[in-house]
Symmetry: C2
Subunit: 199 residues, 2 copies
DNA sequence: GCCGCAATTCGATATACACCTAATTTGATA
DNA sequence: TATCAAATTAGGTGTATATCGAATTGCGGC
C-alpha cells in the first residue's frame, strides 16, 4: 500500500504501467491494434465474459488508449496507436524519470530519519542502525555553536532537551568527532573533522 | 487469472509492465536513476522496511533494470539506464504489439467459440448470444452436403449427433437460411444465402 | 573463535484486482 | 408499447502480491 499520495505528474506513468500490467489487457491492445472489434468478439477471442472485457476496456479508455464508436447497441473499439506511442515515449524519457526521484531525494533521507525518530523536539529513540544514528547525531550537533566552548554540565543540559540519556549522546557525538573534549571543555568540530557515516 | 500461458516473446513486455506497475518500485527507479544507494537508505527514503525494499529490488534485478555492487555487507544499487530505455523502446514498437494479437486472431474467434461450447463432437450448450450461436450453426451446417437433400428424419439424425435438441437446431438453421425446406425435403443453402451474423 | 550489522529469506497478513454471475441500462425492432 | 440483444454496472469470490516481523545468512572487526 502507498502511504504517500502519488505525485500528479508521475501518476500517469503509474497508471499507464498498471494498465498494461495484465495479460488480458495486453492481448486486447494487440487485437485492437489490428482491427476494430465489439465486446462480444473480444470476449470470445480472449475466452472471457463480456463484463470482464468491459472492465478492461474501461481501464484502457481512461488512459485514452482505445477509442469507442457506438453503432446501435454494439460498441466498436479500436486502439489509438498514436496515443500509445506518445505516452510510451514521453513517459520514459529521462526528465520524467528524474521527477520520480524528486519525491524522495537523497537529501530527504535524513529528514525522513528525523521524522521517524523525533517527535516534536524530543528524540523518541536512538536508532541502532549506524547510518540512521549518524543522521540523528548530525541533528544534535546543530544545537552547538562551533565558536563556543561548553563544560560538561552545559553539554548535558543541551542534550537533555532532546533525550534523557545525555551521557550516551555525548559519547556518541565524541565518537563521531562531532564534539571534541579538550582540557575538560567541549567544543563542536567542523564537519570536515567528523567521521563519515559509514565508518 | 490467466488460463493460457503467456507467449514467450510478449512475456517480457508483461513482466516489464508488471515490474513498473507499483508506486514503490517506480520511486526506486527514480532514486536509483540519479544516485547509487544501499538498501537502508532506500528503505528510509521510501518509508518502507528493508525486506520490502529487498523484494522490490529483486523484481527489478530480474529484469536487469538495476545493477548491484557489494561493498562488504552493504549492497549498492543503481539503475541501468540503458537497459531501461532499450526495453522500453523494443517492447513498444509496432511489430511487437502485432505479435500480441497473434495468440487470438480475429479469424480465430469462431474456433474459440467452438472450443467453448463444443466438447469432443457434442454441443454442450447452445449459446444465447446471437453472434456465438451463429458460429455454432455454421459449424453444424458443415455436416450437410450442399448437393444432397434430406428428409426430416435424416436431418434430425445428423443433428442428434451434436445435441439432443435437434428440433431447436433445425429451426435455427432454417432461421439463418443455412438450411431450406422445400416440399418436405431439406437442403443446405450456399453461404451467400445465409443471413449475416448480426442481423 | 564470537559479536554486530546489512541484507536477504521465510511465513503470515491484508489489500488490490481479475473474474464471474446477476441485475440494470440502452438502443433497435416488432 | 413490449421485447430482445449488447453493453455496462453492481456485488461477490478467489488469487496475486505488497508489506511486515522474525529468522537466517554473510561479512568484518574484536
Amino acid at each position: 500500500m502507498n502511504r504517500t499520495t502519488a505525485s500528479n505528474g508521475n501518476d500517469t506513468l503509474l497508471r499507464f504501467c498498471k494498465a498494461l500490467a495484465d495479460e488480458s489487457r495486453l492481448k486486447l491492445v494487440g487485437l485492437l491494434a489490428k482491427n476494430e472489434h465489439n465486446v462480444q468478439e473480444l470476449a470470445a477471442m480472449l475466452g472471457l465474459k463480456e463484463p470482464t472485457v468491459s472492465h478492461h476496456l474501461l481501464v484502457l479508455k481512461q488512459l485514452a488508449l482505445v477509442r469507442m464508436r457506438a453503432d446501435g447497441n454494439t460498441h466498436w473499439y479500436r486502439l489509438d496507436q498514436d496515443a500509445l506511442h506518445r505516452i510510451a515515449r514521453t513517459v520514459f524519457n529521462p526528465e520524467n524519470l528524474a521527477r520520480l526521484a524528486a519525491s524522495a531525494e537523497a537529501e530527504g533521507w535524513e529528514r525522513k530519519v528525523l521524522s521517524n525518530f523525533v517527535e516534536g523536539e524530543r528524540l523518541i529513540e536512538i536508532p541502532v542502525s549506524r547510518r540512521k544514528r549518524w543522521a540523528i547525531l548530525k541533528w544534535l550537533a546543530a544545537d552547538f555553536d562551533p565558536a563556543a566552548t561548553y563544560d560538561e554540565a552545559q553539554v548535558n543540559a543541551i542534550l537533555k532537551r532532546r533525550h534523557h540519556d545525555c551521557a550516551m549522546l555525548r559519547r556518541e557525538l565524541i565518537g563521531y568527532r562531532m564534539l571534541a573534549r579538550e582540557k575538560g571543555m567541549y567544543r563542536r568540530l567542523p564537519e570536515s573533522e567528523w567521521r563519515a557515516a559509514d565508518t
